[in-house]
């Protein structure tokens, strides 16, 4: 599905990504872990075309590095940003409607699906996005991206600042996404849901991948956890 090779990216003059290699297979849930500031979000933004890339990004066998974000999105890549980017002046329903790429929506996900999964969003469908709670905003952002029917979705820190009950809901939604045949790259700081739901994990440190393996391999490796994850 996605193959990133020797990816570099800069913010002004600081060298944020220093040669990232990662792959996500069809229908796989892969987690990208690491402390704050190691370049996880930048990796997503670079794949999305929001930060200028240097290196190779292949999606479904096609080179997409250097394309514009909306072109990349239209090829089937979805991105749920860490800071959510909920459109504050639009209602919950309008936020969802802008998620689909055209007026007609014929993808895997419908607005009815979303309201069934998260009845709270249905109840508040006419409330402005800026006025709903942080947890609801998180669900809204994820569902909004799903409305565009991506084949591959990057979800950046979806559980940050959420109550434990909501964290579980996010985990369930991600599994539901994978069940519908969408590949997932989950970015997390904590191990919480990543160990449970992902097939493979990457750990980033200083702009590079420093560990790659299965959840069991990571569980067994205390030194890696200590060096790259614990605060």
């Amino acid at each position: 599905m996605l193959e990133v090779k020797d990816l570099h990216a800069y913010y002004d003059r600081s060298h944020i990504l220093q040669g990232v290699d990662l792959t996500v297979g069809d229908g796989e849930i892969v987690s990208l872990l690491g402390r704050n500031g190691v370049g996880r979000s930048t990796t997503c933004k670079t794949i999305m075309g929001l930060v200028a890339p240097m290196g190779s990004i292949q999606y479904k066998g096609e080179e997409i590095a250097g394309l514009k974000p909306h072109v990349i999105a239209r090829k089937g890549i979805g991105f749920v940003p860490e800071d959510r980017w909920v459109f504050p002046d639009l209602t919950v329903l309008q936020n969802l409607q802008l998620g689909s790429k055209s007026r007609k929506n014929s993808g895997r996900w419908s607005i009815e699906d979303v309201f069934k999964l998260f009845p709270k969003l249905g109840e508040r469908s006419n409330v402005h996005g800026g006025l709903i709670s942080g947890g609801e905003q998180q669900m809204l952002t994820m569902c909004r991206t799903l409305m565009g029917d991506p084949d591959f979705i990057m979800i950046d820190e979806p559980t940050e600042g959420l109550a434990p009950k909501l964290v579980k809901q996010v985990g369930r939604l991600i599994e539901e996404i994978a069940q519908r045949g969408v590949s997932v790259l989950l970015v997390e700081q904590k191990l919480s849901i990543a160990l449970k739901i992902s097939q493979r994990l990457y750990i980033m440190g200083h702009g590079k991948i420093v560990f790659e393996g299965t959840p069991d391999e990571l569980k067994a490796d205390e030194s890696i956890k200590k060096e790259w994850l614990e605060v």
């Binding site: 514009k68 974000p69 239209r74 979805g78 002046d89 998620g99 565009g148």
Partner: protein, 316 residues
């Protein structure tokens, strides 16, 4: 007194709506692209000149439609081939680009139509008094201006709140990256908004050029006031721009008619100022003479006490 108030209110509304036609485009462009378009008022001037030229050949009514369309198209070209190219060098470069463009347009107008004003007149069909209130006539053309500007406001409002492209524009005001990551062509939307904004400014020029004076200095006269509207109204807020337009329209219109000075005010409280002293002139300035500085005073106070404007979403 009542007559004065009613007519001043009407004039304020008229002037305010004209300001809004200019500032609505500018505020959308400013908040979406972060570019303060210094050439915005120049597109207003182009609208007036194009309307004048078109009226000479085929009349005012076609000009009302054609001039804004042509200017809007020019604006879109400027965005696509000018601003977008300069964009990668940052906001300062973009700002300088628009400043240069403003001079370019002004000098071109000088070159083509000359330095003095052109004879752009209210069309004969609207050159009569619509009705008389108390002792003053209200010309049909002013009623027409009001109708055009109010309907423009309604159409703009409906487009922004009821259409999909309007929702995309509103969303891009706060999170342009988010909108493009959802698969919407944000650069395309920028071009559309820039062209649309220029076209609105031109429409203001078409209906305002014959009411005011169509001359090469008209852009430089109105330009700064439009910036004041954008700053006072607040970044990213069309409603703010609307309120600020009406507010500044009222402020300026009413100030012009008030012939009291500070010493009159003090006299009202029974204090008489001596005729001498270093500040003697200040006491004698009439409110009507302060009209031109009031908007800027208002802007400076606004920036000090409420930097994000009346309804702004973020501090610029």
């Amino acid at each position: 007194m009542l007559e004065y108030i009613i007519f001043s209110l009407l004039n304020s509304l008229l002037y305010g709506m004209l300001l809004f036609m200019l500032s609505s485009g500018l505020t959308l462009i400013f908040s979406m692209m972060g570019v303060l378009n210094f050439a915005h008022a120049s597109f207003f001037m182009l609208g007036a000149y194009f309307a004048f030229q078109i009226s000479v050949y085929i009349g005012f009514w076609p000009a009302l439609i054609l001039a804004p369309l042509i200017v809007g198209f020019l604006g879109a070209l400027v965005e696509r081939y000018g601003l977008r190219t300069v964009h990668k060098y940052g906001h300062v470069a973009e700002l300088l680009f628009t400043v240069g463009l403003a001079y370019l347009i002004e000098e071109s107008v000088n070159l083509i139509w000359g330095r003095s004003s052109v004879d752009y007149r209210v069309p004969d069909a609207l050159d009569f008094a619509a009705f008389t209130l108390f002792t003053t006539d209200l010309s049909a053309y002013r009623v027409f201006m009001l109708v055009i500007s109010v309907s423009m406001f309604v159409v703009l409002f409906l487009i922004l709140t009821r259409t999909r492209i309007g929702l995309i524009i509103q969303a891009a005001l706060t999170h342009p990256d988010g909108v493009s990551a959802l698969g919407h062509n944000v650069p395309g939307v920028f071009m559309l908004v820039f062209g649309g904004g220029c076209s609105l400014a031109a429409l203001a020029g078409v209906i305002g050029g014959n009411y005011l004076v169509t001359e090469p200095a008209m852009a430089a006269q109105l330009g700064p006031i439009v910036f004041v509207v954008v700053v006072v109204g607040g970044m990213g807020s069309l409603t703010g721009a609307f309120v600020a337009s009406l507010l500044l329209g009222t402020l300026q219109t009413f100030a012009v008619g008030i012939e009291y000075s500070l010493s009159d005010l003090l006299a009202f409280f029974g204090v008489t100022m001596e005729a001498g002293g270093i500040l003697k002139d200040i006491w004698r300035i009439q409110v009507s003479h302060t009209g031109p500085i009031l908007p800027y005073l208002f802007m400076v106070l606004m920036l000090i006490f409420r930097p994000k404007g009346i309804m702004g979403k973020r501090e610029s």
